[in-house]
Amino acid sequence: MIPTSDFLILGAMLFCIGIFGVILRRNALIILMSIELMLNAANLTFLAFARAMHDGKGQVFAFFIIAVAAAEAAVGLALVVGIFRNRRSVNVDELTLMKH
């Protein structure tokens, strides 16, 4: 049987890749995709602990995370479309309206 730590390491690496994407990319779409990656890393960790504890509650929480991620993607993409229609750009460095 595969040890639980392998799944946890994979989840940690996915989460770190997501953080790198949020920090280093300027496209709002890519940032949303990185957030989806991080949510999936959390999902993987929940499932790994669910199997390690022989407890089905972790899988229920993974289900809830998927639902919340769907809601987050819908609202986030609507925001991106709205920002693009107003500012003609999805570069998050140019969204400095509150600075001036």
Binding site: S5, F20, I23, A52, Q59, A78, V81, R85
Partner: protein, 248 residues
């Protein structure tokens, strides 16, 4: 970045738990390798469509990883909801934007972000992985065959977590309504600022097509709008001001 992320894995997986190498573990690490490569490819792509496709590939590989965790229901949901619904949503938005990136990577302020963001993150990744490597497995034996099936997850979902389940459905409805409101407000603003020649935009003409017809008909006949079949004049602006933010 690839070297930085992949270099620790060789020495991370090797030392302590490498005593038992079996076929499922090898297959799992092949899936994991493809997952990580897909995730990195998502971030490195300049083309948005290619990035979305890399993410779809990543999610398929993650669904394969979930089956190793005997989470069959979640694996199916991963393919259906993530790789199906959410990624189609991303594709739609990429097509709507249809724009090349002028500055895909951050160059402005890169030194500060590298100093305060990336450099502290690298030891975080490393120590996270080394800490998780020594995580003991509480039940080393595999769970029974019913673990993770639709029946088991559904039974938990509709008994212990029934309220949360209903709250999630309400949350999804709220998200759909919010997405519609946010995504169409800007378009409606543009339409309000460029009225057709002569015809002033009437209040409330956006909220239904039959209302549009009656309001234009009542505009053609010079009668006060309260007496005709048009919308009440005080009702429309209130709805407008409530439904969407102003252009400035």
């Amino acid at each position: 970045m690839i070297a930085l992320l992949l270099a620790p894995t060789a020495q991370l997986v090797d030392p302590s738990a490498m005593s038992d190498i079996n076929l499922p573990r090898v297959i799992f690490w092949i899936f994991a390798l493809f997952t990580i490569l897909g995730a990195i490819s998502t971030l490195m792509r300049k083309n948005d469509i290619a990035a979305v496709m890399s993410l779809v590939f990543t999610f398929f590989m993650l669904a394969g990883v979930y089956t190793f965790l005997s989470a069959h229901f979640i694996a199916v949901l991963q393919v259906l909801v993530y790789a199906g619904a959410i990624m189609v949503l991303f594709i739609f938005v990429v097509m709507v934007l249809n724009r090349d990136e002028s500055e895909p990577w951050v160059w402005r302020g890169l030194a500060g972000k590298a100093l305060f963001g990336v450099l502290p993150l690298l030891p975080l990744c490393y120590f996270l992985c080394t800490y998780l490597r020594d995580m003991p497995t509480k039940h080393p034996d595999a769970p029974d065959a019913a673990f993770g099936t639709v029946a088991q997850v559904g039974q938990l979902l509709f008994t212990d977590y029934l309220f949360s389940f209903e709250v999630v459905s309400v949350l999804l409805i709220i998200a759909v309504i919010a997405a519609v409101v946010v995504a169409r407000s800007a378009k409606s603003n543009e339409r309000d600022h460029q009225p057709a020649d002569g015809a002033a935009p009437l209040p409330g003409h956006r909220f239904g097509e039959p209302q549009t017809g009656t309001s234009y008909a009542s505009n053609a006949v010079p009668t006060p709008p309260g007496s005709g079949g048009g919308p009440s004049p005080g009702h429309g602006p209130a709805l407008q001001a409530q439904g969407r933010p102003g252009p400035h």
